[in-house]
Amino acid sequence: MREYQQGSKAAFRELVARHQRGLYNFALRFVRDGAAAEDVTQDAFVRIAKNFQEYSHQARFTTWAYTITRNLCIDQLRKRSHRNHTSIDEPGHAEAPDASPRAHPERAAQAELTGRRIEEAVQALPVEQREVFLLREVAGVPFKEIAESLGIPENTVKSRMRYALERLQKDLQELAELAGEESR
């Protein structure tokens, strides 16, 4: 980032290469829409490019970049809430998980189903819990920095994360029970 702040385009390319996947995945899970996630990711990098002088090195670059992305995601969700847009929740929009062991079609189908339900469980989290969950799990931002980024106490961040994990834990149990019934 320092090199980019000194005007190096190559340094910016390196930043893009290093963080595009993380930011895209974060946005994808946050806004739950592939096209919107692409928009958000691109906007995020444009903002990073335009506002690099505001980056002070006090926070990690990752935290700064994910905060920008998170704000853009919130904007996207706001817009969508106004327009009642279609989302990834709707049939046909969910993308299949990557894992696909070809040798065992049944297992592959089960893995795909499980993967999709896990994604849905995350997407079903309340937005306050989801943003904390994604910032910690996908972006790897420490709780303290999430707190600074969101402007809330660290304990609140941890509470939200705890609620999120407990809720996912419950979903997981239901999923296990469902899988058990299906296998019988």
Binding site: A49, R78, S81
Partner: protein, 311 residues
């Protein structure tokens, strides 16, 4: 460490954010407390199960991002310095400016009452002496001050002194004249690269606005219109942006900076450059306006949005 401490530190331990000494105490407690161990294991298992698989970046997005250094890093219209300002950065231009200022100051001092009025009898007497000593029909030097001009025209002393005082009381007048904008009929200057970029993008931005009503597209388009002097459209877009919480303050500020009428715009000789700051600062961590990249645009600044979003 007691159960309450373990519960409070559960997440920090789960994500390896606990200092080593506390982590050891935490683990020691888990070894002896089945309840805490069960709670921790449950969260740990959940965390493992919910490791979301990373998706690959779509090719189109990767391409657009690869092009960003060439597009997004161009200076935005808001930050482009006018040609005259860039020219003034040249050392010769600076030297010329200093000479001009010094020359103007000296000239002003010469017409001020301090040097031409009663306060400088010695100089007046000197000049009168020179004039009387000059033979009739000899070469008359060009009058350099109102005092001398008046004398050359045969005006009374009082009238010339009054003119001198009048001039001295408005020393900024020559500078105001210098700062007067060119008339609207002046031949248009070639648009800067940034302005041209703006013009090139406006069609696609307008299309995006029509299709999706994108707020960021509106913002970028408004900035572009403002930078190329199409204030009516800029005003319309900024007005629409007032409804957007993210852009409200920046739009409001930009509206205040826009010329009120076409006449104002013409008087401003076209391009009004809105400063980057005025277009909104970045949000806590983000945001600012810019030249849009090939496919998208950079909205100004995103304000931190904390309110939960219902959808």
């Amino acid at each position: 460490m007691i159960c309450a401490d373990v519960d409070a530190n559960m997440l920090a331990r789960l994500y390896d954010e606990l200092p080593a000494s506390e982590a050891a105490a935490f683990d020691g407690h888990l070894a002896s407390c089945e309840t805490c161990a069960k709670a921790f294991t449950g969260l740990s298992e959940t965390r493992k199960r919910f490791q979301l698989p990373a998706r690959e970046v779509p090719a189109a997005l990767a391409q657009a991002l690869a092009a960003l250094p060439e597009t997004a890093l161009e200076p935005s219209p808001a930050t482009v310095r006018p040609l005259w300002l860039r020219a003034l950065s040249h050392p010769l231009a600076i030297a010329a400016s200093v000479a001009l200022v010094v020359g103007s100051t000296v000239n002003l001092l010469r017409v001020s009452p301090l040097f031409t009025g009663e306060n400088r009898p010695s100089i007046r007497a000197e000049r009168a002496q020179e004039a009387s000593a000059r033979p009739q029909g000899a070469f008359e030097p060009q009058a350099e001050s109102p005092d001398e001009t008046a004398r050359a025209k045969g005006e009374p002393e009082e009238a010339s002194a009054a003119r001198a005082r009048q001039l001295a009381e408005s020393p900024a007048q020559p500078q105001r004249e210098l700062a007067t904008p060119k008339p609207a009929s002046a031949p248009p200057q070639a648009p800067s690269k940034a302005e041209q970029t703006c013009r090139d993008q406006l069609a696609s931005l307008e299309g995006e606005i029509r299709r999706s009503g994108s707020v960021s597209a509106k913002r970028t388009a408004a900035d572009c219109y403002a930078s190329i002097g199409q204030f009516d459209r800029a005003k319309t877009l900024y007005t629409e942006l007032l409804a957007s919480p993210e852009h409200q303050s920046a739009a409001s500020e930009a509206l205040h900076r826009l010329p009120e009428t076409r006449a104002d715009a013409a008087a401003g000789s076209g391009a009004t450059t809105l400063s980057k700051k005025s277009m909104g600062g970045a949000a806590r961590a983000a945001p600012a306006p810019a030249t849009a990249p090939a496919a998208k645009s950079a909205p100004a600044e995103a304000k931190e949005s904390k309110a939960p979003v219902g959808y």
